[in-house]
Symmetry: C2
Subunit: 141 residues, 2 copies
DNA sequence: TTTCTTGTTTGTAATCATTACAGTCAATAT
DNA sequence: ATATTGACTGTAATGATTACAAACAAGAAA
C-alpha cells in the first residue's frame, strides 16, 4: 500500500535528484514512519545519527519531496505543517487527546460536489477530528 | 442559510458574553462577509472605523467565537488560520490563483469511513484546491 | 456622585514555525 | 589537480500567534 523506500529512491533518480546522504535518510524515515511528522519530528529523529544535520535541510528536503510529488503536506488546525509520504487520495483523522494522525480510507467517488462542476480540482483532503479508539478505551478504565 | 447578525447576537447573550462595541463590529463583519477571513483581513477592514482597535482584540474575539461555537477555524496549507462563521457541515475550495475560499455543499453521509467505526468524530472538514471557474475563464481569454 | 469590582481592550514583548541568504562543503567532470 | 555545480549549514529575518501587564469601561454598591 505504502510506497517502498526503494521505489521512492528510484523516483528521485528518475527526476534527476541527487541521492545525498541527508536526502536518503530523510526519505527512509518518511517511508518507515508513516506518522505524518512535522519538520521538527524528523529533525529530532535524525540529528543524533547525523549530528551536522540542519533543520533548514529538513525543510528544504521535505519541500523538495513535495515539489516532485513524493510527499503531500497536511495542515492541521494547530498552525503546523505535517508531511505525508502517503500520496494516493485518502483522508486523515487527528485525535485531540493523543495528537496522533491516522490515515483513513475514503471512497473517492464521494468527493464530487455539484458546486464544483466548473472548477478544476487539483487536490482534495478530508480531515476528521475527535477521539481515537485507543484514547476512548483509556477513558473508560 | 447563513446565521443572521441578530441571531448571533442573541447567541452571545445566551452564553453570558458581553456585547462590547468591538465584539459586535467583528461579529457584524463576519456575518456580512462570508469570505473566511484571516485575523489580518478582519483587522484591516475594521481599524479605520475603530482606530483604537488592536489586533490582539481581533484574535481574542475570534477565538472566543470559536470557543462558544459561533465560528470554526480553517487551516489552509499556507500556514494561516481563517475564521468561518458558517458552522454547519460543509466543505471548502481554495483557488490557487485568486486565493479565494469558496463554500461547497457536501453530502456529509458520503464521508463516513469504516476505518473510523470505533472513533468518536467531533468535526469533519473537506477541503479542495485548484482553480476556480472565474480564474479558468480569465485564463482562456 | 464616588468608589469598587469585574471584565475588556490595548500595546508591547515573547514565542514558534518557516524562509532567506550567504558562506562552506562535497562530488563529479574536465 | 582544478573547476564547476549543487547541497548543506548556521544565522538572521519574517510573519503569525500568544502572553502579559497596564489602561480602560461599565455596572453595582455605598
Amino acid at each position: 500500500m505504502n510506497p517502498t523506500y526503494e521505489s521512492l529512491k528510484q523516483e528521485l533518480l528518475n527526476q534527476d535528484i541527487k541521492l545525498s546522504h541527508q536526502r536518503l535518510k530523510i526519505l527512509e524515515f518518511m517511508a518507515s514512519n508513516v506518522i505524518h511528522p512535522t519538520v521538527d519530528q524528523v529533525y529530532q529523529a535524525l540529528h543524533h545519527e547525523i549530528p551536522t544535520l540542519s533543520k533548514t535541510t529538513v525543510y528544504n528536503t521535505l519541500n523538495l519531496f513535495v515539489e516532485v510529488g513524493l510527499c503531500i503536506t497536511l495542515a492541521t488546525e494547530e498552525n503546523e505543517i505535517r508531511y505525508d509520504i502517503h500520496t494516493f487520495p485518502h483522508g486523515h483523522f487527528k485525535c485531540k487527546k493523543c495528537n496522533q494522525v491516522y490515515n483513513v480510507d475514503i471512497d473517492s467517488h464521494a468527493f464530487t460536489s455539484k458546486d464544483l462542476a466548473h472548477f478544476e480540482i487539483h487536490h482534495q483532503e478530508v480531515f476528521y477530528k475527535g477521539i481515537c479508539e485507543k484514547c476512548l478505551l483509556i477513558q473508560k478504565l
